[in-house]
Symmetry: D3
Subunit: 273 residues, 6 copies
């Protein structure tokens, strides 16, 4: 069960309204790697957790924190929208550089949301649950989480660069720091699991059932051999079980497919004879 306190986790107050920036900021609220995504991802991973309780507890800790980040961003966006679209037009009239850079606020912020935040991204595309990854295999999922925090911090940093508003930047600097921690956190959790399970997910599938002769080979399906220079093309494999190989000219070994005719009641293209 959950409880709410009225104070935000951290201060969220812009120096002045900016409806166009509000549109952009929606990306890290309702975009693929926005706060709603990590909130839902960590909570569902926690609720579905069939492993050690410390993982469940940790996932619900961080999932609960992310609800607070959603709250901070929604609050910030609502304040950035204060008095739009009037403000927007007057300000633009004074300064053509600002005007041209704007590209307009999101019309739904006014028409649909009455100057409120919405669970959409910076193009107004709605958040959807396919952004939520929860596979039941924690090593796989923690890699999803490390990716989410990497993409997320990258996007927040880009948004930091796009504004001069001190209030906005102050809040973003908090979120950026939390993403620094969360990247460290998932890296630590991954290290802990890899130590037990090894590199390859899932670790529980017997290696004898895989086609082992292609399990450590880079296949160069394109012209050129620049790709041979990487760590992935030679030396010991990262799981410590084999050596990387580089195959410059991979060969197709499968059949030339020839499908049977469809039965008559399917009414595919009739046989030609």
């Amino acid at each position: 069960m959950f409880f709410h306190v009225k104070e935000l986790q951290y201060r969220s107050k812009p120096d002045k309204p900016d409806a166009v920036y509000a549109k952009k900021l929606q990306e890290v609220l309702g975009g693929q790697f926005g706060e709603i995504s990590v909130m839902m991802q960590y909570l569902f991973q926690g609720w579905n957790c069939r492993a050690e309780q410390k993982y469940r507890d940790m996932l619900l800790d961080i999932g609960t924190e992310e609800i607070a980040h959603v709250e901070m961003l929604a609050t910030m966006i609502a304040q950035l929208l204060d008095k739009a679209p009037v403000e927007e037009q007057e300000q633009a009239a004074k300064d053509p550089i600002i005007a041209s850079a704007m590209g307009g606020m999101n019309p739904q912020h006014a028409i649909v949301n009455g100057l409120g935040a919405s669970p959409n991204d910076s193009n107004g595309y709605p958040w959807n649950a396919r952004y939520t990854i929860a596979s039941g295999n924690l090593l796989a999922d923690f890699r999803a989480n490390l990716n989410a925090e990497s993409q997320g911090r990258l996007q927040v940093v880009r948004l930091y660069e796009m504004t001069e508003d001190k209030g906005v930047r102050d809040m973003l600097s908090f979120l950026i720091a939390r993403d620094t921690y969360h990247q460290n956190q998932w890296a630590a959790a991954i290290a802990e699991l890899e130590e037990k399970e090894g590199l390859v997910v899932p670790s529980t599938f017997s290696r004898e059932y895989e086609k082992s002769d292609v399990a450590y080979t880079f296949m160069s399906c394109s012209e050129g051999t620049e790709s041979e220079q990487g760590r992935w093309a030679s030396g010991p494999s990262m799981d410590g079980l084999s050596e990387f190989r580089y195959e410059a000219k991979p060969v197709a070994t499968g059949q030339v497919p020839k499908l049977n005719s469809a039965p008559g009641y399917i009414h595919d293209t009739p046989s030609s004879s």
Copy 2:
């Protein structure tokens, strides 16, 4: 530019048709972590690559290989659908266990696709481009790739467990082995980049602009302290720059939000006075 050869990369032929399994197998063709996703992801990362040419080359190598995996799976599914839905009904009639386990084929396989594969997942939900991650920051994206290969191998393994068909299993054992390599590959590429850039993405954002006092702290937003037992709660941080801290009772430090009234032309709830 691209060229096609008629042979499949690896043999793709079921022992016998199985329309219900065809529906399930769609997951790793057109699902979030199916072969279409990695094909598009690696190709777009390659085409957008502004970094060293060896990364571009490598991405296009593997992206091109993934088109061949899409081809193998589409071919397999079309063959699994041979003679459906008649076959399905007769077989089911003989064996109630099979019948009950089936849960029916995907109706669109017959009505819409005429016994062909489609770019949808195992629930018939269409593949969409939000599954494609290409941020321009390769360390972030390679983590997305490692995750994709982890989720992908996990799903293929689960599908391997769900069939006894030797032909299907043979093809899956090839895909599983390639996923083993690809997990190793992305782990190697990540190691190479982390050595240069450090752990935290993006590495180019100056740390002085982040709220550094919360950059290494685990915040326990839920009851219980099981989460204190993990590697993420104490000891040196994974980026080597600080020490992990555990905050058992995090405190909200932000304001209690109070939004201004909306202007009259927005027609939000009128002021009460």
Copy 3:
């Protein structure tokens, strides 16, 4: 069966083209609470109606009227797009306030639709059938309808405020009036049903099967007690069957969840021992 007459239900003609306003006006054509939504919602409620014929007849009456509203809006948008994007650029060049306020027309209006209306919202997001509510329970659905007409009138009013074009405003004043009637209509239909069935949907589920001790209690899951001041926190309940109660400190009464391990063939995180 349906028939069409050539005249629009009401005059739909702008004083002059305005491609940017055309983009915004799409919201009440193809958005969540646009005319396509109510058209489909009332028609499907009518076609599925298993209750008294007067409800079916009424639903098909209003559903058929809404097709005419879709027609009026599509016609208006096509006329607002006349001569775009050339018109748009020249006008903008003369007046930087207009220019800055524009934020550009929807590129698909030119590239995809050749200066025609489309069944999308003001961000170009396509109308989809999840906007259509038809549950088979008319009291529930009439509440959905009252909401749709409330959101709809609110959006049309906001759009009225965003233009000075007399022709557009004339047409909107017609739609606003119809929404006034339709809010009254659904309120009347709801009153009629509530008189027969009572307030709570569905009325046919025996109250003895619900956990009655929490059926009239407000639970304050957040700090602060401002929420105690509302009509919902004390006094007789709206269904006339009990008294409202305010629970300032609700208590979690469920178990601490502990899930079983997954079977081996699922390849979730392996047991730790």
Copy 4:
């Protein structure tokens, strides 16, 4: 900011696993009127609230409670999936009625989620943010909320009828009771606002700008006059400002539309002359 306690708000434990019912139960977790929808809807309405603080507080109270309902349902679904799909097949083999009624579990529950809940509906369609209504006008939004709780209780009741499992029914009886309260709550809040503002949303738009002669008229756009028998066709209007009228043969008063040719650079169908 938010905090979590480990106990569920109410007991959530099935008597035995049932993977097929788990699929159905997803509807009230991740469907249009599932718990995720009301959670997001109340939280966003609260965060965006520019009206009296008691409404903000109330919205965040109930929004926070809904997170706990999401938690209960996710936990229930994970337990219903215990040991699937093996359990499912064996049980089905014994009893053909069960077998035929099943129609199979959701394949993604095994392949994608490793026997965990997901934020999707009963057809595996992902929850998306277009289900979230937050307009800034509380009277409009509370009608959305009353509808959501009506559709929600209806769906939970239908799911109650579809199972004999005592543990599941016990939890559903709790949710049904809460929906009883929440219908009462929104009805109370609506009554409070209607008393101040009147029936028609938005109340702040001057009636002189609407085409008043069609603001109280039912238009019978279909054959038959059964629709004349309702409360909506005669008597005083619900807002108390006029009388309902019934127009048996509404007349189209608008123009016959004739659109101008598109400019040449648009390449629409060329003029015929």
Copy 5:
């Protein structure tokens, strides 16, 4: 404006309920090539029509007829759902072939729609407006229409094969005949336009601006030369302006792409030096 008569365009009554077939039949109601698609497509093409009035009139004629087809299918589906899911289970228990063929009804038909039709396809995926094609160029759009009627008739025919119910088949035989006419109709309209404009859409773009040396060449980008045997590989081109050519070994003539580094504030992968 539109008017409704109570009689269906054609009889729509099944011999007996069949909830599983109802699920399949949804494809031609709410699927990509279902009746909602053609209804919306023809209406929007008509409303947006800037060409001769006879095309506008014709499009609105057929668009209006399609609303009647939507009505017939919705009515049929509601009747097929009569008494489900009870009927379904009892029938299944008696006949394992039926049971196994069923694969279950769509759970939303009961939980969400209360035994009514919905605007979704046979997998429960919602109809969306991206299915609607209206480009402003009638020759292009009539080709879209001919395709829609071809895919549509194909799907209805497949559904005809999947049932023995005489009532259902009777209605489908009506729809199939209308699709026969509509294929003829669009073929006629296309012939009329091609006579005026020629084959290539858009006809108004000057041929001198296209790279004419590749405008009539088949490029064999895959191994094998079976594709040389078709009408498209030799002989006069269909537009009568040139000769088809077959290029067995097409050559890439573009540059090897090399992208510039991103500016620092974008935080892409840093330059390696």
Copy 6:
């Protein structure tokens, strides 16, 4: 299997960056009729092909070529985004006409993609697999392909008109020419199949099962008789099997629908008695 060469199929290099045009150009990369659509459509039609091998070979030829078109467009867009958004602002400041015409770049090009192309359309809406048509009936599908190439060439032509950049126009003139060929190609393939099968898809369904009396009749469901003037209203039908007829006043011949009550456990509106 597939192989890649480093050179693009044709030169793809803009004269100078233009972030706003990059947004528009996305339409023909990731829109409904963009290159990703035809790539996927032809490849899936090829992989699923159960007809003569020359069709399979031809489909894979052209499908493989389309991957190269995707590559050219992605490369072009990445180059158009060079140095955005800084470039964009400075240029706009100098020329208010350009500024006003811009309407801003796609914010995700910077925030999400780090100045790279994405598989989305010009409104940022993601490509999805419902754009892919592959029915197993080649005559139906080739009509879909002819439509796709018609809509596609139309869109590319419109985009050609929207830029003065010589480099961009050069590449578009190549794509336009290929679309000229592809329209000719599908017209040729259609002619070949129609000669064998006749006009109506599917040709294999016996005409005796369709309601033949309405198979050649135009039904005028709207007022006015302009639609009588077309080729579709009189003369021999296009399939050569009958005569077109024009029905000025079509009559509804079906029943007035009356649905049965729902069973009690569905909790639809209760019977009124």
